[in-house]
Each structure stands twice: as C-alpha cells, then as structure tokens.
Amino acid sequence: MEMIGHGGKPLVERVIADKTEAKKKIAGLKTMPASRQMATECISIGYGFFSPLEGFMKRADVDAVCKKMELADGTLWSIPIVFDISDKEIADYGVKEGESILLTYDDNPLAIFEVEEIFTYPKDEMAFDVYGTKEDKHPGVARTYAYKDKFLGGKITLVNEPKIREPFTPYFLTPRQHRMKFKELGWQRIVAHQTRNVPHSGHEWLMKHAYIAAHGELPVESMEVIGKAISGVLVNCIVGEKRAGDYIDEAIVLTQDGLKKHGYFREDIHMTTMTFWDMRYAGPKEAVHHSIIRANLGLTHHMFGRDHAGVGTYYESYEAHRLLMSIPREKLFITPIFVLEWVYCPHCGEVTCIGLCGHWNEHQKFSGTKIRSILIDEVKPTRLIFRPEIFDIVMDAAKKYGFGSPFVTPEYLAKAKPAFSIEPL
C-alpha cells in the first residue's frame, strides 16, 4: 500500500532489508566512515522520516531551503539536511561525483551514497538564514560553523538496519510502522507531542489540551465499539546529541511512557516513540521541521507550545506559532494546534491554562529549570505538579542509565552507549 508523506508525495523508503541483496549491492564500492550525526540522518532518510528527501541535499535544495524555506521543487522545508566533508576526505576516500560510495558506521556497512554533487555553500549565510543569527553561542549556528568546507549531495539507501539498544528497542518505529500501529489502534486523528523532557503536569495538560483540540467534533468514542478510543496522542521523543544538563534520553522515553503505564492517559489513547534527530534549536524553523517529520509518521495534528525548540533568547515565546500560521495550509501536511502555557494557580488550587484563568498575579509557572532543580535535590514533588510514579521512574533511570544522575553529565557523555549500533552485515 502506498503511503503519502510530506509534500503529498509517496513516503520514501530506501532500505535494502535483504542482507544477501545488500551484500551484492555494496560489493566493490569504496568505503567511507560516517559520523554519528550523518549515520542517524542516513537512517532517517532511508526510513522516510525526511520524506520526500531521498538523500542529502544538493546545492539547489540547500539554497532554496535557506532563502525560501522550501526545496528546489517548492515543497516546504526549513532546515538543510547536508553531508559535510573535507577536501582531504574527498581525496583520501576517492569521492567523485557520479559514483557511489559505501558509508560505514562502527566499521560496518551502513548505506550506499550515490554522490551526485560536491559543492560549497557559505556557512555564515546558511546559519543566518536558518537561525536568524550568526552568533556561534547559538548551538545550531555552532553546528553549522563546525561543518567541514564541502558538502556531498545525492541519494541514500540504507543497506544495514540499525540495532536499537534497550531500553529504546520498543520505542523506535519507522514511519511505516507508526502508520501500521495507528491503523491497528483505529486512531482517526493523532496529535504529536514533541519532547526532549521528562513530563511534569504542565506537559501532561498540554497533551490533554492538544488531544481534545485535535479530537474536535468526533464522537467521544467509537460508535461501533463502546470504550474504544478513536484519537490518540503520540509522544515522539527526540533522541540525539546531548548537552550537559539535558535529561538523559532513557529517562525521557521511559517517563513519557510511564504516563500511560500509570493511567494518567488511557492505554488506548497514548503512545510513546522516538525519532533520531540532533536538535538544532532553530525555534520556529525547527517547529516546521518537526511538523514535516510528524506528517511523515502519519500524524494528523501537531501541538506547538511556548518556546518550541528554541534556545536562550533568540526567539520570541510564540514565534513558532506565527511562522506556522503564515504557511499556506496546502503546504503543511499536518494541522498545527497552538497551545498556551499551563501553570499552577494557587487560587484555583489546580493546574490551569494561562489563557483561561484570571488570577494572573498568583500563577506559579512550571519552569523546567525549577523542576530540574527539584529532581537534583531528590525531593519528591507534590503530585499536582509531578506524578509520583514518574519521579520514581526518573530516579530509577538515573541509577540504571545515568551514572546516578537523570541529567547528562560528562561521565554520561563519555560512557553512555549510543541508542543504536550498526552490526556486521
């Protein structure tokens, strides 16, 4: 069955699952190692997370993305997906336009790269166009400046599927697998919650708000089977490069799933999965990118809250909402749901939406910084702001995976195993 992805185009699936065939295809190819970022992006391209991209961008696409927020063919796209390389590597590995090379990871075959173009692009322009700043304090800008001087564009075919390690194994689904799961669940509308956080009650209410908004005019439950949900929330955790102080990925995935396991969401309306992506912190542009990925997963709606994917003070709190609202509906293949912040109101004695409650002066905001501080102190928060079972999962994940901390530490960065490996073919 053909599946339609972002841009209204068929979902890209460039994977050779048959190992014998893969071995034949790679025989005799020159090999070149891929960095962790490039390897994860090969995986995302191969499975179609980045549909309609079939490979790393060529110059025309990069230029169109930077200048017009679209691919060369006019499809909405906000962040360049590029493969950087140095002149020395081009020479050492004998990379040539019009030839294919085999990318390896962990010294094992990963993907065939049909190199169509070797090009340069001014990195400062790319940074400014995507991030709105040239300051290298911005992590996305720093990443762009760190790219090597040349880029390779061309198609990618995954020849060796990644092995996902525990505890992530059940949470990694390809776009096709996501869609099959939604079908099995009978969900007609599915709203994405993008996260790289352990959930506090403010997050929980954002999801509930988005679920109700996405569900819209549909009946409360299926007419045919009483008690069967027909809409769902997909928590799609971003798993990728970490910075000191971030939550460890294991804690994020396990706690998000914990909301369902402990009944804060019904079993049949909530699901947690993960997507490999190194956050660029591009704020509004990253929000567009997230909407593209989630459209490819088969979702119908995407929730966007305050400070979506931003960093520091580079973007205004609701800049992502404004950018998404400015995009013609026919170019965005998912319906955005814009939500305001949820806060604790001592006057109401409950968690409430800042846009509904009139006790402005009394609101206590769910600052992520404060929640982190509470977790560092290992003080179990009141259940109104943080579910006790979720606290226990965080502490357990800290012991099992975080070398004692639920946050990324230098020790975690040095010793934690990547979420995936590439095994011998």
Binding site: A244, G312, T369, I376, D377, V379, T382, F407, T409
Partner: protein
C-alpha cells in the same frame, strides 16, 4: 538593594520538620503547589565564584536568574551551613571554606 541570584534548595518533609524544630521554617518560600524551597542568595561576586569553583553549575540568565545544576552533595552542604548559621547569607563563607579545604570539605562537619 543589590540584585541577588539564588541557589534553590528544595525541602522534603524530613528537612521541613528539622527546620521547624530549629525555628528556621520562616526562611522557606512556597512555590509550585506548596513545595518548600530555601532560596540561598548569592551576590554577583558570589555567583561568579560559585560558577568558577563548580564548573558543572550554570547560571540561568534567561528565566529564573538562579544558579542551577549544582550537584546534590554541594547543595546538601549549603543546607547544612544554613541550618548551622541560622541564616541564608552563607555563600561567601561557604566558598572560602571550600577553597581552603578542597574536597576534604565534603567530609568535614560545619563548625
């Protein structure tokens, strides 16, 4: 009054009782649905000193203007000092003692 930058130490039930018994419960603030916090202030100079002595810590300039990511053992020691001195303004002395004793400080009792 010069601006100060807090180190937030969150208080569990056990510590709350300890502070009540010592007559120090009025040092606490309530935040986030009744959670109790000791906001130990740092002057700008003390803040910079703390960030230098504990490089893993970060100053949240964007939102809370507080010093974050200090490890629990450091915050536990600050708490101990607040209880001993019966006041919140302890960070200057805290930094001095740590500079003098180094890592041995963590095993010393606050005099």
């Amino acid at each position: 009054m010069a601006e100060t930058y807090p180190i937030n130490i969150w208080i569990n039930e056990e510590r709350f009782k300890e502070l009540q018994a010592a007559g120090l419960a009025d040092l606490l603030k309530e935040e986030l649905a009744g959670m109790k916090v000791l906001a130990v202030p740092c002057t700008a100079e003390e803040r910079d000193k703390v960030l230098k002595l504990f490089p893993m810590a970060k100053f949240d300039a964007a939102t809370t203007k507080s010093i974050e990511l200090l490890p629990k053992y450091v915050k536990d020691k600050i708490y101990e000092m607040v209880v001993k001195r019966k006041k919140l303004q302890v960070m200057s002395e805290f930094c001095q003692l740590f500079e003098k004793a180094g890592d041995a400080f963590w095993n010393q009792e606050i005099a």
